[in-house]
């Protein structure tokens, strides 16, 4: 039951405590520091100036980059859905030979990203990539720069951001009542029309949720345009980054961030509306587990198989290359002429030869694990209260909790350092700057919006009668949450925790300003070992770190998804089907 009455909200001590803690967190860590920073940047002399707006509007480059960012986000919202839905369908919906292997190939984007991913694609299809070279041996007239600009950025980012589809759309698909499909087939519907009219509409809420995430990724695109965009297709994120680091230009960075943030808010408002309206989940009394569909048309079947495997190769090659490249000298990789003599263990020797090389790994694993556990644990309560009690205060809280999506991490980090560098009453008169806790706080903050969104969606899919049943049996809010609701959304919560963990593991933006000198996290360590004027092996070293990260992240994903093989997966999904009865 959605309850809008204030009285009911304040009657439960659980709700009151969660609300108060959330209010404190939002006020102390989201609103106060950022407001501080924004006020000092926009109103340096206590007076608002239109300088930033004037500067940006009169800059053709800024306007172009901004437009590119929006164009990229809009394009990705379409292309990622096409590829993502295709991937989910071939791995989970249609009968495709070797679907399990395909799944693993598509899942590679779970364990790497950023500069390495973009570079990986560049090494294959870029100007000096070996595919380009091979093709040019046969067709010399082909433009070596064919893989650059808008097209290349869209292709690479499309492939790189299907992660959310794989994880969240896949589990939604498993919850579809198979009887609806059987019924449609019985009435003579074709495979295609079942897909269009039954399956995809049932997936709509989740498609919408992942589309928002995709759109955000597109708006914030940084490395792919830098590596592949060329001069014609640069986005706004690098400019925001440059401006955030300069005191004088920080207002420009903030303004640009706010523009992107407004777009995000509009999208969020739309998403909230869709979430509120209607239940799309199966209303079947006894849901039947989904069975994989055969594609009846032989030609279509062959075409889908071919497409699935081509995509598999496209997904898997960069990963294999990165592993390969981690054993190569930088000069060989960068100049594109690889011989047997270029293979070396030197890169690994360099990384493992660094004193205390494991230390940053341990620090980052501890920070990331703590932060992901805290944020998922906390948001379990918060998203529950937000979902149960709709009133102006909770609505406002919900929007405020999305602040970290709006502001770039660098600004959030700077705001934290500057706010907590003196005793602050909000945190019990403590100074947090220079302590180990500030980075943890930052990590928790940046993961709040993503966690909140997905947990809220997960709670929304639990039927209300389960809560009523628990309540009438005397269970309190906490007990119901712990024993009834959390077990149901545990698969989603675990996936979110793993994703949060993986993405924090090599964070640089927050760490650089916040890390305690004695506890250097991995992102900073990688940057330190790859930067420097004399460091010519930086690319190889990056690859070595990436391979090590892939191992950790792969292990994390294995813990969440892989244990016990396919049987766990099936059982989890069946447990899911019970919930939508």
């Amino acid at each position: 039951m959605r309850n809008s009455s204030w009285a009911s909200m304040f009657r439960s001590p659980f709700v009151v405590i969660v609300s108060l803690v959330t209010l404190w967190f939002v006020a102390t860590f989201l609103v106060f520091p950022n407001a501080n920073l924004l006020i000092s940047t926009f109103l340096p002399q206590g007076q608002f100036s239109f300088r930033a707006i004037d500067k940006l509007v009169s800059s053709e480059r800024a306007m172009n980059s901004l437009w590119h960012s929006f164009a990229l986000a809009a394009t990705l919202a379409v292309t990622v859905n096409v590829v993502g839905i295709f991937i989910v369908l071939v791995t989970d919906y249609f009968k495709i030979r070797g679907a399990r292997m395909l799944w693993l190939g598509y899942a590679t984007t779970l364990i790497y990203g950023g500069i390495v991913l973009a570079a990986g694609y560049n090494f294959i299809y870029g100007r000096y990539g070996f595919v380009t070279n091979a093709v040019r041996n046969w067709f010399p007239e082909i433009d070596p720069n064919w893989f650059s600009g808008y097209f290349a950025v869209v292709v690479v980012m499309t492939l790189a951001t299907t992660t959310n589809h794989m994880l969240f759309l896949g589990s939604s698909l498993a919850k579809i009542d198979y009887q609806t499909i059987e019924a449609a087939r019985n009435m003579g519907a074709s495979t295609m029309s079942i897909l269009w009219r039954i399956v995809l509409p049932a997936l709509r809420p989740m498609i919408f949720a992942v589309t928002v995430l995709t759109f955000l990724t597109g708006l914030g695109a940084l490395t792919a345009p830098l590596v592949l965009g060329g001069t014609d297709f640069q986005t706004i994120a690098p400019m925001i980054l440059t401006f955030s680091k300069s005191t004088g230009s920080r207002d420009l960075a903030a303004l640009l961030a706010v523009i992107l943030g407004l777009a995000t808010i509009v999208l969020l408002a739309m998403m909230n509306r869709v979430e509120k309206s209607g239940v799309y989940f199966s209303v079947a009394k006894v849901a039947t587990p989904l069975q994989k569909q055969r594609i009846p048309n032989r030609f279509a079947n062959a075409a889908v198989h071919v497409a699935a495997y081509v995509l598999f190769v496209v997904y898997a090659t960069p990963v294999l290359l990165i592993v390969l490249f981690s054993f190569l000298q930088s000069s060989a990789i960068l100049t594109g002429s690889i011989t047997w003599g270029d293979f070396t263990l030197d890169n690994y020797a360099t990384v493992f030869g660094t004193p205390a090389v494991l230390r940053p790994f341990v620090v980052s694993v501890v920070y990331s694990a703590l932060a992901s556990a805290i944020v998922v644990g906390g948001m379990l309560f918060v998203s529950r209260v937000l979902q149960k009690h709709r009133n102006p205060v909770t609505t406002m809280l919900e929007y405020l909790l999305h602040i970290p999506w709006i502001l770039p991490t660098i600004l959030i980090a700077l705001a934290l350092v500057m706010t907590f560098d003196r005793p602050n009453a909000m945190v019990g008169g403590q100074v947090l700057t220079g302590t180990t806790s500030l980075l943890l706080i930052a990590y928790v903050i940046v993961k709040v919006p993503f966690t909140l969104r997905l947990l809220k969606a997960a709670f929304a899919s639990v039927p209300e009668s389960l809560e009523d049943a628990a309540r009438i049996l005397g269970a309190g809010s906490m007990f119901t949450l712990r024993k009834v609701l959390v077990p149901l959304i545990l698969p989603t919560a675990a996936a979110i925790t793993a994703l949060n963990f993986n993405s924090l593991l090599d964070d640089y933006d927050a760490a650089v300003f916040l890390y305690h000198p004695l506890y250097q996290p991995l992102g900073v360590a990688i940057k330190a070992s790859t930067e420097g004027e004399n460091n010519v092996d930086s690319m190889s070293i990056t690859f070595v770190y990436t391979v090590l990260l892939m191992i950790i992240m792969g292990f994390t994903m294995y813990l969440v998804y892989g244990r016990g093989g396919s049987s766990t997966r099936r059982r989890k999904r069946r447990a899911g089907t019970v919930t939508v009865k």
């Binding site: 973009a118 570079a119 440059t242 230009s249 650089v512 000198p517 010519v536």
Partner: protein
């Protein structure tokens, strides 16, 4: 749980896990920044290529326990400014004079006259107030590979690159203006055109230079080293701090040539200073006295191909480094103007001139 226990718990968790892996000698040395004894925290952007480890080891030999915190120049400067009310670091070295001017104007560093002050050219540091002191000099040079470009083909003036159509798109321009080197390039381009009446203190002709420089250049590719691009004939020229040449020639089998314009090239000087408000003032001063001394700077120069400002240390510098530096005249750059204006220049360039 109050904040202090939270902090303590977190530190304990971190420590505990670190102790388990028992991979570090410093793990047991955690101390809060408010402690006046204990490990000296040294901030630097000059810790790569084993320099950090070298300094740590040498300092330990000299009886000083230090922890190096290495970050990129701009990030490091930002961090120090952000932390100025509650400093975490005690000493900072390696940032160039431009960054140090910023730190000084933010009161983030405090003045101290090291024992070796007599051995360095005071004008290379903060001659007026002695807030920071010079260690190492670097030239920002335009290089090419003499294997592919003969000295005769190379321009004699850097400006030829964008004024002569023959070089169109054949030289790399670094567009990451948040970093130190591209900012120095910009400063070097604008220095001759200082004009009080011009936009941001620069005449229109100056801005035209900047515009043409970026317009005709080939933007640097993220993740791809300049020398990789030189080797695969993507570009012929690019900008580099002089200390990076030696190792690249070894790695890429190039033979670097340097354009030496008669007006000179921008020089930057890496500095050292005590961070304002450190509780370990005494230790910090001791470290500065030690690190800037002729012996240590000489050893450092021999090890890392640097060119020390300390005149007594220069004897130990590598001969080819000395030869290169001595062949390159110093461009006349008004550093105080640059410091004051650079962020505006970067902003204008970023908004209007970058490709």
């Amino acid at each position: 749980m109050n904040k202090r226990t939270l902090t303590a718990t977190l530190a304990a968790v971190l420590l505990g896990t670190l102790a388990l892996t028992s991979c570090s000698s410093t793990a047991g040395e955690a101390s809060s920044s408010g402690d006046s004894s204990g490990t000296l925290i040294v901030y630097t952007n000059s810790n790569s290529d084993g320099r950090g480890e070298w300094v740590t080891a040498k300092a330990a030999e000299a009886g000083m326990k230090i922890e190096i915190v290495g970050l990129g120049g701009a990030d490091l400067a930002n961090r120090i400014v952000a932390e100025k009310n509650n400093p975490v670091g005690d000493v900072v070295f390696g940032l160039n004079n431009m960054f140090f001017e910023t730190l000084k104007s933010e009161d983030a560093v405090s003045a101290y006259t090291p024992e070796w002050s007599g051995d360095v050219d005071k004008s290379a540091g903060d001659a007026k107030d002695g807030a920071f002191w010079p260690l190492v000099e670097q030239a920002i040079v335009t290089v090419y590979d003499t294997n592919t470009v003969t000295g005769a083909d190379a321009p004699t003036q850097v400006s030829d690159l964008w004024e002569d159509a023959a070089y169109d798109g054949r030289y790399e321009v670094n567009t990451s203006l948040g970093q130190a080197t591209p900012q120095l390039v910009l400063a070097g381009l604008l220095a001759p055109y200082a004009d009080k009446k011009g936009d941001l203190g620069i005449s229109d002709a100056g801005w035209k230079q900047v515009q043409d420089y970026y317009k005709h250049g080939s933007p640097a590719v993220e993740g791809t080293d300049l020398y990789a691009r030189l080797t695969r004939d993507e570009v012929d020229y690019g900008v580099l701090p002089s200390s990076g040449i030696t190792s690249r020639d070894a790695e890429y089998a190039t033979k670097t040539g340097v354009i030496s314009p008669k007006d000179g090239v921008p020089y930057v000087t890496e500095q050292i200073a005590v961070i304002n408000g450190t509780p370990r003032q005494g230790q910090a001063e001791k470290f500065i006295d030690w690190f800037g001394s002729a012996d240590v700077q000489g050893e450092f120069a021999a090890e890392f191909a640097s060119f020390p400002v300390n005149e007594k240390a220069r004897a130990q510098a590598l001969p080819e480094v000395v030869a290169l530096i001595e062949s390159l005249p110093k461009q006349d750059i008004d550093w105080s103007l640059t410091r004051e204006r650079i962020s505006e220049w970067v902003e204008k360039t970023e908004l209007e001139y970058l490709p």
